[in-house]
């Protein structure tokens, strides 16, 4: 239980910190870089290394490649949906999660299974 609470607090702090840094910058394309900051990764990997060891964390980082590639495609789809189809941000970002799950799982199945 303590482990879960610790993960929650450290993950929340990392994510909030990067989001606040992103809020500081203009133009929006530059601020958006921080939307893909390794905040969850840093928190998770630091805790995983301490608990499960470095080889376990390295395997997580390898699979993260599929997640990051999926995030790239996801972000492009969100941009197109809001710019071209004029979808509101909430609808676009939630609908495009299908793209993230599909790409991430597809790449994982093809390369890292």
């Amino acid at each position: 239980m303590i482990d879960i609470v610790l993960r929650f607090v450290i993950g929340g702090l990392f994510v909030t910190a990067f989001a606040v840094i992103g809020d500081l910058f203009k133009p929006k394309t530059f601020a958006g870089l921080f939307g893909a900051a390794p905040s969850v990764a840093l928190a998770t990997l630091a805790l995983t290394i301490g608990k499960e060891g470095k080889p376990f964390a390295a395997l997580e980082a390898r699979s993260m490649l599929a997640g990051a590639a999926a995030l790239f495609l996801y972000s492009l789809v969100v941009s197109r949906l809001t710019m071209r189809l004029r979808w509101p941000a909430m609808r676009a970002t939630l609908a495009a999660l299908v793209v993230w799950f599909g790409t991430a799982y597809g790449l994982w199945w093809a390369c890292f299974r």
Binding site: L24, T29, V40, A58, V78
Partner: protein, 155 residues
């Protein structure tokens, strides 16, 4: 286009919006840990790049831009969507930096001290993301200049 630091974005961010980001960030970190525990690190690792706070962040960007325009008596809806789209383009470039981060951690972690690998990979993410952003900016400038100098003449 120059990168500028503005505190206005921070002033517009309310406490409950920060709390939402904190909650979503904490939740996805816990979920990634639980998935890695149950299904192994290969599956858990996917969620290290899950767009957990992206829907909330993009919605806030859209809302703040809309409010800014409406305070000036203008229609802010379109500007809000445009800002959210630009934020997403930035995230796409950041995710390419995330690929660099993941490769470095995967390859260097077994051989080197963990703390230095994580710090180094974090710096590499920042440099790669900023580099890609700068490259995109300069390419856009080159194309704009080319169109101005060599494109069809305007009457």
């Amino acid at each position: 286009m120059k990168v500028e630091v503005h505190t206005e974005g921070l002033r517009r961010t309310k406490w409950h919006e920060c709390a939402l980001r904190f909650f979503l960030g904490g939740a996805i970190t816990v979920i990634a840990g639980l998935i890695a525990k149950k299904f192994g690190p290969a599956m858990g690792g996917l969620f290290l790049a899950f767009p957990a706070i992206f829907p909330a962040s993009a919605t806030l960007v859209e809302k703040h831009e809309r409010e800014k325009k409406e305070e000036k008596g203008l229609q802010g809806m379109e500007r809000g969507k445009q800002a959210a789209a630009q934020d997403a383009v930035g995230a796409a470039m950041g995710s390419l930096g995330l690929l660099v981060f993941a490769v470095l951690v995967w390859l260097l972690l077994p051989a080197y001290k963990a703390v230095w690998v994580l710090i180094g990979a974090g710096i590499a993410w920042l440099m790669a993301s900023c580099g890609i952003w700068a490259l995109r900016q300069s390419r856009r400038r080159i194309f704009r200049d080319f169109r101005r100098d060599w494109g069809p003449a305007r009457n």
